[in-house]
Symmetry: C2
Amino acid sequence: MAEELALPTVVARMWGREPVTRRGPRPRLDLARIVAAAIEIADVEGLAGLSMGSVAAQVGVATMALYRYVGSKDELLVMMADGAVPPPPERGDLAWRDYLAVWTRANRDFLLGRPWMLSVDRLTPPMGPRRMLWLDRVLAALADTALDEGEKIRAATALTGYALADASLVLGMRPADAEDGVGGAAGYGRVLAELLEPEAYPALSGAVRSGVFEGVEGWTEDSDFVFGLDLLLDGIEALNARRS
Amino acid sequence: MAEELALPTVVARMWGREPVTRRGPRPRLDLARIVAAAIEIADVEGLAGLSMGSVAAQVGVATMALYRYVGSKDELLVMMADGAVPPPPERGDLAWRDYLAVWTRANRDFLLGRPWMLSVDRLTPPMGPRRMLWLDRVLAALADTALDEGEKIRAATALTGYALADASLVLGMRPADAEDGVGGAAGYGRVLAELLEPEAYPALSGAVRSGVFEGVEGWTEDSDFVFGLDLLLDGIEALNARRS
DNA sequence: TATTACGCTATATCACGTACACAGTTATGG
DNA sequence: CCATAACTGTGTACGTGATATAGCGTAATA
């Protein structure tokens, strides 16, 4: 508290800790506007369409003007990754376990709507105010358990990781543009059937032959999500029982 | 089997399903050499140092020669992401649960050694021969359980996802170059303490104050990993019990 | 009011991915 | 045995994008 520990520039900016300067022309922009514009572009065109030029155009300034607000494109990406995070779901009167489920699903869902976040996120630990709010809210729910502080953090981490991994998976399955039936789980299964030599991949080709990847009783995005989520929640619940 | 289902080019190449042509000069390169060179560069300099030019230089040809073997840099990345995967651990006489633990840790560990994989991987479902081998091996271990085929796949997916998420987290914590004590969990805790307003983040600032992020009894990379892994394995074990 | 820090623009550079056209090479069919 | 077609590797050229630098105007401070 005393020393104003030197923060990385990005982090400082993300939390609005910029030194307040009064001199020269009044800024025509502010960080939030820039970040919002960048997010909008990424939402529409993906990260591929995101360039310093396109962002600048969107807010109506010359490209180089942005550099008065962000140190580099990478910094901008980091700020986008926090800025695009919605507020966490309300607790309401949900039991801790139910809230964890809701929370994790919401976490996954906003990633599904913003695929580009997956390509950015990985790079930094959660340091932005919005991400932190999510963390805060799970911890609050976990306060109703008997886990110790370390365990709570780790449980939260595991859930966050799961949301991330599941979103990756779902998105990875999707695209392929259905060009030739390579998209989706069924398409995936078909590709596997084509490629796998049963001698080299006995267990996997067995699974493929069993038809797991096909239609109804097999794979749906959601059943997949719930399955893993329940594994984790069951694990947490068991731990809680042990601790009580 | 009949129709030679049209595979995406990358996938075909990854599995050596290129049409065999005999005409013109004998190729001086082969895909494997190129991919290996690219991996070596990524290992040493990271993805930043990886350019078509640098890869070409490494194998001793002109840049454009590479395009006889790969359709684009992105394709190359996809092949690297499979090519860099080591063989999965041997089962030995491990019980299924123990093997799952070993497998997941090995999975995470090779990601730690190859951070660049995390920035590539996400983009595609596991379609390469090496990744498939990993999948095959967990499934084989899970054959000793009472889970049905769908559950086995999903369990494997959850474990893979966990390895991925944990590796991301660990790597995200690491760098920061210890410039000012922002690296590592302790540094992270210090940053949080600096930034969080207790009113806005009550649970989280409570955790920070409790010292979870500091030193010994708090956070170590490994305890973190084991914690989440056990959640999942416990969950799988419980499910197995229910199914038996 | 003079000064000076600062916002924004325009221009310039440099690194990369990749299209294209050419030159040398080897199997194939007459 | 030769002409040709199907290839492989090379060099050059272009477009895009990130970012350094310098200049011009503006507004707070002395």
